[in-house]
């Protein structure tokens, strides 16, 4: 038990960083990490696959984020339906000039942020990332390539069109 907790404590800062890059908000990031750890600890015995603990935790956290995101999007659509407007869509005026890598990174889609963080920052292998996303390695490589191009363009200070922020 204590051994497991030690391993987890070492990974928690990385989980928090990943959650922060997904949610862009420190307190929801920690909420996400907490529910990820709860899930991990309660399904430790039967679900924990052989292999990298970090990759397993990233996978749990990522799926939880997507689920929550989907729910809140549904909620936003419902609100939009009742109020007739959508505040979540950036207007042309709010379009920003990306000046730094971090700002550019923040404008990428969820999956692109996750991909770049896993590969470029955490140094995970394509195979591990493919397992998390449940797609072939080749798909990871082509999506990564697109993510890099997008980051490059945004970092170069090209004006982003709102539609670009919604890359699926």
């Amino acid at each position: 038990m204590n051994d497991i907790d030690e391993q987890l404590r070492e990974i928690i800062p990385r989980l928090r960083r990943f959650a922060l890059s997904l949610t862009r908000n420190a307190s929801s990031a920690d909420d996400l990490v907490q529910s990820c750890l709860e899930r991990a600890l309660s399904s430790w015995g039967d679900k924990r696959a052989e292999g990298d603990l970090r990759a397993w935790l990233f996978a749990i956290l990522y799926r939880q984020f997507l689920d929550a995101h989907r729910r809140s999007r549904r909620y936003a659509r419902m609100l939009e339906f009742f109020t007739g407007r959508d505040d979540s869509q950036p207007s042309a005026e709010r379009t920003v000039l990306a000046q730094s890598t971090l700002q550019a990174f923040d404008q990428l889609s969820t999956e692109q942020r996750a991909l770049l963080l896993w590969v470029s920052v955490e140094g995970m292998s394509y195979k591990e990332v493919a397992a998390i996303l449940d797609v072939p390695t080749g798909t990871v490589m082509s999506r990564l390539s697109r993510a890099r191009q997008a980051l490059r363009q945004l970092s170069d200070g090209e004006i982003t069109r709102p539609s670009l922020r919604r890359l699926k």
């Binding site: 987890l8 928690i12 800062p13 590969v119 470029s120 292998s125 082509s142 990564l144």
Partner: protein, 250 residues
């Protein structure tokens, strides 16, 4: 081994250190003779480097104690104990069929909201509706207090209601969110019933001041003592209820 010229994927794999040493050298040799591709690759490398630097700070956040694995483990254990307790009530309920099953569920849900609501629910289920056979009957060998003491050490004594004509006749054990509970049913000669209900104060040690309240047709007197919470439940507006309120000293 990758083929030359390298594909775009190979170049990404090069940037990400996912090529073996031989392939890596071949790509480096190739890039040395291709300034435009070389610049492209260098830009990717710089982006990755800047991203690592930019996100490095996020690793240095002050620790959040709520995220400590030991704490989360404890919380999970508490939750699963609570679920076990509810499950036990539902198990009782399964034996009694669907409708009363919901009653029993209500019993656990309500218990947090109002003092000793579970005692009143238990009275309805077991004393009024006679859902389940008793775990213990006085006719067995007569000592209700002894039976209760087996489960609740140092609990308050069963009140003596004999002057009002009530004597303990049956007891049963229950499971609640707050822990194991027991209910002793008193009866008089005319089948009027009063229940004595005892259980632990729960994980948050929620002790009660002496009080009384009514809910529908029932009235409960409740109090705490000896580390347990108690309630005496009887129908409203009966001589027995008045007697409980006025004369019984707890």
């Amino acid at each position: 081994m990758i083929s030359m010229p390298p594909s775009e994927r190979d170049l990404h794999a090069y940037v990400d250190h996912q090529l073996d040493a031989d392939d890596r050298r071949r790509v480096e040799t190739f890039l040395a003779g291709n300034p435009s591709l070389s610049a492209q690759v260098r830009a990717w490398q710089q982006d990755a480097q800047q991203l690592r630097a930019a996100l490095g700070g996020a690793l240095q956040q002050a620790a959040n104690p709520a995220l400590d694995p030991a704490l989360i483990r404890q919380r999970l254990k508490r939750q699963s104990r609570r679920h076990l307790a509810s499950a036990a009530v539902l198990l009782i309920a399964v034996g009694m069929g669907g409708f009363s099953g919901w009653k029993a569920r209500e019993m656990t849900l309500l218990s947090a909201a109002q003092p000793m609501a579970d005692a009143m629910q238990a009275y309805r289920l077991f004393a009024q509706q006679g859902m389940l056979p008793a775990d213990y009957k006085v006719s067995d060998n007569g000592d209700m207090q002894g039976w209760l003491d087996r489960y609740f050490t140092q609990a308050n004594r069963l009140p003596d209601l004999s002057r009002a004509g009530f004597t303990p006749v049956s007891g049963r054990l229950l499971s609640t969110e707050q822990g194991p509970a027991a209910m002793v049913v008193y009866e008089d000669g005319s089948a009027n019933k009063i229940s004595f209900y005892v259980r632990p104060p729960g994980p948050r040690n929620f002790l009660l001041p002496r009080g009384s309240r009514s809910d529908g047709e029932l009235q409960a007197e409740y109090w705490s003592g000896g580390g347990y919470n108690y309630a005496m439940v009887s129908p409203n507006d009966t001589p027995a209820a008045q007697m409980l309120r006025q004369t019984v000293k707890f």
